[in-house]
């Protein structure tokens, strides 16, 4: 298949990043379209980050954290799990297929599992094809230009045309 998906993976510093490191040490291979972003904990991943990743061109997004019970900050991965569950439902309603967003637990020693999980993700997204997200607006650059000048006009132009009494009177009533 020609399509080379872009996949963003948020990896927690203490487990999954170490697993990725281990995979590197073993010289294991995974596709170049997979981009890792290291965060301190899977609980740090705000759903806004995930939407933003899709918005900026990711075809798939993944969060990886420590196994339940192993989070360095105790509860962070449970938080990630709860958020992911709700976000998954929302993404589905927004037309983003389930396979494009995944949460996985990968511990520091699981370099092989890391490789397996990312390759699976890659293949699934490859099957789905590009997300092809383009922000659609009716904004024309021509209008934007005229506007840039307009907004520099000082607010005085409003007060100039009203005499002081009038302004005060309105203010009082308001």
């Amino acid at each position: 298949m020609d399509f080379k998906p872009k996949i963003v993976i948020f990896v927690c510093n203490w487990c999954s990043y170490a697993a990725a490191d281990g995979a590197g040490m073993k010289r294991a291979k995974y596709p170049a379209g997979i981009k890792l972003i290291r965060v301190m904990c899977s609980g740090r991943v705000d759903p806004q980050f995930i939407l933003q990743a899709f918005h900026q061109g990711a075809d798939g997004v993944m969060i990886m954290g420590c196994h339940p019970g192993d989070c360095h900050y105790k509860e962070g991965n449970y938080k990630a799990l709860r958020r992911a569950k709700l976000l998954q439902k929302i993404l589905d309603q927004l037309g983003v297929e389930g396979d494009r967003f995944k949460l996985e637990w990968v511990s520091a020693s699981e370099a092989d599992r890391f490789i397996k999980v990312v390759n699976e993700m890659y293949e699934n997204v490859q099957k789905l094809g590009p997300l092809d997200y383009k922000a659609d607006t009716l904004f024309s650059s021509e209008v934007a230009e005229t506007v840039e000048q307009g907004s520099e006009t000082t607010p005085e132009s409003v007060t100039e045309t009203l005499d002081n009494n009038e302004t005060e009177e309105i203010e009082q009533i308001l």
Binding site: T146, V147, G150, S151, S157, L162, E166, I170
Partner: protein, 322 residues
């Protein structure tokens, strides 16, 4: 001296924003006589041609309410932008897309089918749909184009200020008008309400515990409201992620907040932020239990993006199959 010119235009809206001007009581008469209205379809008979004849920047301020869905709306807001020094997005629909923006969950074709063919009260055996051009008795009639989706105002033109709310409340409108008259406007792009969450001003704030924990979500009609914070009672309230300024209108009417004032400045979009906050207070770590609790949230995207779908990160180009 000439009075400043102003316009008050509506796009895809319900008319509630016009109504909110009337909420200014007698002051509205003063305001309307102090300015020279050049366009206000709800109350005055001006033609688009009158606006076209004005010089560029001749209008001091245009208040535009409603979301953008048709070519007529696009044309008019672009015209007003050209003729105005300030454009103020007035109300939730123009600020974020609003309730009309929920139409982005459906394809244009299914909306037209529903409205003109399938709806129970419609008799249309020939399955006629509106067309942009129709010839009647040799004369050509035109209708505006109905776009594929709904846009917030700043997705169509540059916007100077935002007055949020569905509809805006009198105090916010008053403060905006006073700021405009005094020439004391904040930096361009500002939302003209305080930058903090509704919870901070909420009368039920006292009963909101430091740590919320919820085992089941209920809909407003399923509780016997005891006057405590809605979240504490298990009813989703979006006050946690919504900008204040509405004087807790819904809360005072014993209903939870649905987010019409939009997000605070440091939040990219309120929908996913709200979903994040709501997920965090679910009181279990067991996956199956989490699933069961999540199932008690009916229509999450429609809930969290009720007023902001077109302006949301992915809602800008939502991929809909329906």
């Amino acid at each position: 001296m000439d009075k400043p010119k102003a316009a008050f235009y509506w796009c895809a809206s319900c008319g509630g924003c016009e109504e909110s001007l009337v909420d200014l009581n007698e002051a509205v008469i003063k305001v309307l006589t102090a300015v020279d209205m050049v366009l206000m379809p709800v109350a005055m008979d001006f033609k688009y041609e009158d606006v076209r004849k004005l010089a560029d920047k001749e209008i001091t301020v245009s208040f535009i309410n409603g979301a953008i869905r048709t070519s007529e709306q696009e044309e008019l807001v672009k015209l007003l932008r050209k003729k105005s020094i300030y454009v103020i997005a007035y109300g939730a629909c123009s600020h974020l897309g609003g309730v009309p923006g929920l139409a982005n969950f459906y394809k244009k074709e299914s909306i037209l089918d529903r409205a003109y063919i399938e709806s129970e009260s419609t008799v249309n055996p020939e399955k006629k749909l509106p067309k942009m051009k129709t010839t009647v008795e040799g004369k050509e009639l035109e209708l505006p184009e109905f776009y594929d989706r709904v846009y917030a105002l700043n997705q169509v033109i540059d916007v100077d200020y935002y007055i949020p709310g569905c509809p805006p409340v009198p105090d916010v409108v008053k403060n905006a008008i006073v700021a405009l008259l005094k020439g004391a406007l904040p930096p361009k792009g500002s939302i003209l309400t305080p930058n903090k969450s509704l919870c901070k001003d909420c009368p039920r704030q006292e009963s909101k515990p430091d740590k919320l924990s919820i085992k089941e979500f209920k809909r407003p009609y399923e509780i016997m409201d005891n006057g405590d914070c809605f979240l504490q009672q298990g009813v989703i309230c979006l006050g946690i992620s919504t900008r204040t300024g509405c004087e807790s209108s819904c809360i005072n009417a014993n209903m939870p907040c649905r987010g019409c004032f939009g997000p605070t400045d440091n939040v990219m979009e309120s929908g996913s932020k709200a979903s994040s906050a709501i997920s965090s207070i679910i009181d279990t770590n067991d996956e199956q239990e989490i699933d069961a609790i999540m199932d008690t949230i009916v229509d999450p995207a429609g809930l969290f993006y009720r007023y902001s779908l077109p302006a949301s990160i992915l809602g800008k180009n939502i991929k809909i199959k329906k």
